[in-house]
Each structure stands twice: as C-alpha cells, then as structure tokens.
C-alpha cells in the first residue's frame, strides 16, 4: 500500500477493503483467455466490481478463445498490448520475460498485503529473482472417480500402486475401462506423465528433467514408462483416446464406460452438469509409487500480467491488487464461479467437496512441492515433442526406444 494517499482515496479503499490508487482514469484494456461460459461470466462480473470502484476508468475487456489466445499473445504483446493480460505461471512465461514483454512486478510483491498472503505462489511467479505477474486462481489435479461404480464393485480408494492396479483389474473385468482420457490435443497425456514421474522419481527429478538437465534415455525415465505400460497393457485406458479432446472424453466417465479421470478440478463442473451428483463422483490423490518419495502435486496457476508496453500501468497495478485481494479471491473462486482454489491465504474456500479435498491435499499432503504442469514447466517446444511422444507411447507402447531417442535429441537441440 502506498502511503500519503489522499483522504478520499483512503475512504474509498476502506469501503472497498481493497488498496486502490487515487483517481484512476483513462482507459484500461484487459485481455482475457477465459472463454468458457462460467469463467467468462466470473471475470466479467469481477471487472464490473472493479469498475464500480473506479467510475472514471474506462475499462475495455476482450475475451479471446482459450486455445487461440496461446498463439495470439505473442502478437498482441509486441504490436498492440493491452494493459492487463492473462497467462500461465512458471516456464510458460519465460519467453515473454526474456524478451522484455512483461512488466517487472516485484514492487507489487513487496507490498505487505501481497507479500504475506500470496507467499505460496511466489515461486511460480519468479524468474531471475523477480516477479512478473500475479496469480488469480489455481486448482488441484488428481483422480476423479465414479464413487457409485466403486461401491458396486466393492472397491476402496487406493493408496498404493498395487492397490491402484488391483482396483483397475476388477474394473476391467467388469467390462469397463479404468480411465478416460482424450489426447487429441496432447496435454492430457502430460498430466499422466507428470504424476507417474513425480511419484516414481520425485519432484526434484521431475524439475531437473523438465529443465533439460537429465537425459530422456535415463533409466529413471524408463522406469516411469514401465509403470505407465503396466496400465496400458491391462487395457486401463479407453480406446481411441487419440481422437478425442478432453471434453469429448467426458461422456465415457459420465456414461460409466470408464470409472476415473486424471484431470484438473475444472472438469468437475462439466461432469456435474452432465448429471454426476456428488454421491456419484469423488476424488482421490494420485497413489504412491516409490515408497518414501515425498508426494508432489500438479497445481497449475493461472495468472495476470502487465505487458511492458502497457499504457495505463497505474490502473493495471490497481486492478491486479484488486484481483488478488482476499475479498475478490473468495468470490471468484467459489463454487458458483471458477470453482477453484483462491491464491490469497486470507480468502475463504468454498464449501465444496472437491475444493475442500483439493485444498486439504495441497496444504497438508503435498510435502514434495507443487509443479505447474508439464507444458508449463518444460519449454514449449520440448513440451510439444514430448507430449506427442507420450501420446504415441499410449497407442504404441513398443515404440518407446524410438520415442525416447527422439526426445533426447530434441532436448540437446532446445536447451
């Protein structure tokens, strides 16, 4: 919080319980990638609340398709930058940071309000010792499963790899697949690799691998694929997953043709919409594989940034302060809105079965660390080649040697 604010602004800030600069005016251009209906409405409402506090500020919001946004960010950051833009944490922001296209926001992170309450995500926002944005939401990954089918088959939530496989064997015997997945757009397979690697080799190894410090032909990497193969050979995954997007893979779990989905928490909303009530759907943390390795989780963080060439940086900073404030975090992450986890430690978590379990898991049961996600931790180019390899492995497990050699040569090229 800046000191020596004029009295009026102090009053306004007090009413809104949000730090705000005085007399914000001019234009504020915001680009969002939250194109799905629910997140879109949430963001629009949030911006409206912010706008109501700053009547002189002319806010212009552009919502871009989430997939399209990923290619278009490069263009608008250089050509026609907005004042605020959404993006992702960790390595995913590196190209823009290195090219000097994101504003250094270390000053925001020194403000006590943010320094104290957002400490847990500071690491994910830091490159070269500086912070380049603020998070606005994050969510857990894990296994969402059909509680009713588990009950019908007499299965319990597994805790170890052996239990997981034993469950799966019974599920396959009942004529179902254990896991639904749609790998057309590749990243879903990255989720499986993350978890298998995090559980087999641990967080530090996973980070070393995604940072290009370990060879892909390493035996420890092979061990991960060996575990994966055990499931593939059992017929654990649905057939033809390479033709589906993650949404197109949803009907399999909804219709009970598959019993579980390794996914992010954003999948709960469409599953509920499709009729899976809370007594049919439940969640468990990905099982232990190598005993004694501290469990680490994927918890991708979505972020806001200020482009280096933004025109109204004061207003943009005020907006980011508002976004991360406890009050706003409580609202936008509740079950009716994003349905995810707030980044502000002072914010309240919605009373939702899955959010509670996720928060519990990430705060108590993830001693190993928190990873972002394969395509956010690894550089984009390697992520593409690697995830393509994962997809191929899931269809043709015998191609493993070839895939790993390809990945290794890509690694030597890229880093």
């Amino acid at each position: 919080m800046r000191f020596m604010l004029p009295a009026a602004a102090l009053a306004a800030a007090a009413i809104a319980s949000v730090p705000a600069s005085a007399g914000l005016s001019g234009n504020l251009k915001i680009f969002l990638d939250t194109s799905n209906p629910a997140p879109r409405a949430t963001m629009e409402a949030m911006i409206a609340r912010f706008g109501a506090q700053h009547p002189d500020l002319d806010i212009e919001t552009t919502i871009i398709d989430r997939e399209a946004y990923k290619t278009q960010i490069r263009n608008f950051l250089t050509a026609d930058p907005p004042d605020v833009a959404t993006w992702y944490a960790a390595n995913r922001m590196r190209p823009y940071v290195s090219a000097g296209l994101f504003e250094d926001l270390s000053d925001l992170w020194e403000e006590p309000e943010i320094a104290e309450n957002l400490a847990s995500t500071k690491g994910a926002m830091t490159i070269d010792g500086k912070q380049w944005g603020v998070p606005y939401t994050y969510y857990q990954w894990g296994v969402y499963y059909r509680e009713d089918i588990f009950n019908e088959l007499g299965l319990e939530e597994p805790a170890t790899w052996e239990e997981e496989k034993a469950n799966c064997a019974k599920i396959v015997a009942s004529g179902r697949a254990c896991y639904t997945i749609g790998t057309k757009y590749l990243w879903t397979a990255g989720g499986w690799f993350d978890y298998l690697n995090l559980r087999t080799n641990g967080y530090d190894f996973h980070m070393a691998l995604t940072q290009g410090e370990v060879e892909w032909t390493d035996d420890r990497v092979r061990a991960v694929f060996a575990k994966w193969r055990e499931l593939i050979d059992m017929g654990a995954f649905i057939a033809n997953h390479q033709t589906y997007s993650w949404q197109e893979a949803l009907p399999f779990i909804v219709n009970g043709e598959a019993t579980a989905y390794l996914m992010g928490n954003f999948s709960v909303a469409p599953m509920r919409e499709a009729g899976l009530t809370d007594d049919k759907l439940d969640f468990y943390q990905f099982v232990e594989i190598t005993p004694g390795i501290a469990k680490a989780e994927d918890a991708p963080t979505d972020t806001f940034h200020i482009p280096a060439n933004a025109r109204n940086k004061d207003a943009a900073r005020a907006f980011l302060r508002y976004v991360v404030s406890a009050e706003n975090q409580t609202i936008i992450n509740n079950g009716e809105n994003l349905g995810q986890l707030p980044v502000n430690a002072q914010a309240a978590i919605d009373d939702d079965e899955f959010l509670r379990q996720g928060f519990e898991m990430l705060s108590r049961n993830s001693p190993g660390g928190v990873a972002q996600f394969f395509d956010r931790d690894a550089p984009a180019e390697l992520a593409k080649v690697a995830m393509e390899g994962f997809q191929e492995f899931m269809v043709f497990p015998d191609h493993l040697d070839d895939i790993l050699e390809r990945l290794e040569s890509a690694r030597q090229d890229i880093y």
């Binding site: 194109s35 399209a68 263009n75 608008f76």
Partner: protein, 282 residues
C-alpha cells in the same frame, strides 16, 4: 452429345438411370445430411446414444435459437460480411484495371507482369505467413478486419487479374479502336466502353471471390483473434470449444456458418459457374 442421351436408351435403362440419380445424390450428400439431422436433435438423443435414429423431438428452433441468441455467432457472421464485401469490391476494382491494362495494351513488360500475377496466385499462400503477419503488425493492422481485407485484396488480385485479362481479350477490339479514333481518352475508354462490357465477368468474379473469402480459415487464424474481428470460419472453432460434445449445437453452428455462400451459390448459380469455368472451354 456425350454420353449418348439416355432418352434414346431402352426403357429399363432409363428407369435404372432415374433411380440411380437420387440414390447417388443421397450417398454423395450423406455426411452433410447427417449434420443437418444432428442439428435438429435434442441433447438427450446424444447422451442416450440415439445418434442415427430419427430425432426423439424436433428441436430445430431451440438449437438454432441458441446459436443466434446465446453465442457470438451473429458477431462472427457480421465480421465475415464486413471482411468479404470490401474484399470483393477491392479485388474486383483493382483487377478490372490491371486486366484492362494487360488485356488491351501491348508493351514489353506485359507478359512478365501477367505471369507475375499468375505465379503469385499459384503460390501455396501459407509460405507468406510469417512476413505478412509481420507486415500487418508493423502497419498496426493486426487483429483488425482492415488488415485481413488488405491482404485478401492483394492476394486475390492475382487470380482476378488472370480472369479479367482473359475476359477482356475476348471483347471486340473494334470498339476500343473506334473510340480512340474519335479521340476519347484512355480512361474514358475504360470507363464508358470496356467496363459496361465487363459486367458479366464482374458478376461472375464477385460471386466467386465472395465464396473464397467467406471460406478462408488460414488467414483468419494468422491475422485476427477474438470475436471483435474474426470471421465465422475461425469463430466456429471457438463456438465448438464452448460447446464441445454438444453435437446438436455444433451442427447447427456449422450449418449457419456454411449457409451464406450456399445461398449465394443457389441465387447466382449461372454467374458462379461461368466464373469457375472461364478458361476451361475454348
């Protein structure tokens, strides 16, 4: 006439032909009809696995209503129109002039310029992607309809010039000559002698370019983003991302996106085919 007219064939042959016609058409349009059927089905039919049976209820109004009133589709359609129409006007106007110049005057660079247009028109346009994107960014036209329109006009000028030049060469030159004898200026010859004769070519070309531009997807993806400027071909992918696995809505959306050029084609069929086949017959 080839093949021999079926009217002269025996009665069984005639009957066979007449039944084969609708059957083959049915097979030919089968994938499309499937989508049309999808678009009037209720959501329930897809969850219950009734993909190919008759719709359990007719939901055409509801499905198309959602496309028009609960999505960005109307904006995308409007964008498409605002991109397509100026492009058609621009490309046809430019190529009337270039076609006139290359068709009427004899000068040394004539054939080379003509071949430049033709060669450029044959290029797989994806290879222009990186430089054209940079150029558009530099002009400050990235993510504007104007940026897209300017590129389309430029690229289509290649094809249009080929078309117009060949058409002008079929016009009676005596008219131009007699105008020149009377001392009419070159511009007035173009404006009052040649242009009126080019009306059929202009109509044919306009309708053709309309279809090409309306259906463009690649450049829409490369040069624009978001509902503010993207045409419907790119919009339909966002629309689908929003309604993944809601096949009834995706089908309705696809049909809406495809409709304008189809309507154009049926309304202006004669010009359309004249445009496509110019040069195919001597």
């Amino acid at each position: 006439m080839f093949p021999a007219p079926i009217r002269k064939a025996s009665v069984p042959w005639q009957l066979a032909y007449r039944t084969l016609l609708p059957v083959s058409l049915f097979l030919w349009l089968l994938p499309l009809m499937a989508v049309a059927v999808f678009s009037i089905k209720p959501a329930d039919d897809f969850t219950t696995g009734n993909y190919w049976g008759p719709p359990s209820t007719f939901e055409a109004a509801a499905n198309y209503g959602r496309v028009f009133f609960e999505s960005d589709m109307p904006r995308y359609l409007l964008n498409s129109l605002l991109i397509t129409v100026p492009t058609v006007i621009g490309a046809v106007a430019l190529s009337c002039m270039t076609g006139f110049a290359l068709g009427v005057y004899r000068f040394r660079a004539n054939l080379w310029l003509f071949f430049m247009f033709v060669a450029g028109n044959f290029v797989p346009f994806q290879i222009l992607m990186v430089p054209v994107r940079d150029l558009t960014l530099e002009l400050g036209l990235y993510n504007t309809k104007t940026g897209l329109v300017l590129f389309h006009i430029a690229f289509q000028t290649g094809f249009c010039t080929l078309f117009m030049r060949n058409f002008i060469r079929t016009l009676p030159f005596a008219l131009i000559e007699s105008a020149r004898v009377e001392g009419v200026s070159e511009f007035r010859i173009f404006r009052y002698v040649v242009l009126p004769l080019m009306k059929p070519a202009i109509a044919a070309l306009s309708i053709l370019i309309f279809t090409f531009i309306w259906n463009d997807y690649f450049w829409a993806v490369v040069l624009t983003q978001g509902a503010g400027s993207q045409p419907v071909t790119a919009g339909i992918t966002s629309f689908n991302a929003q309604y993944r696995a809601a096949y009834h809505l995706m089908s309705a959306g696809s049909i809406v996106a495809a409709l304008p050029p189809v309507a154009m084609f049926f309304l202006m069929q004669r010009h359309f085919i004249a445009g496509l086949t110019l040069g195919a017959v001597k």
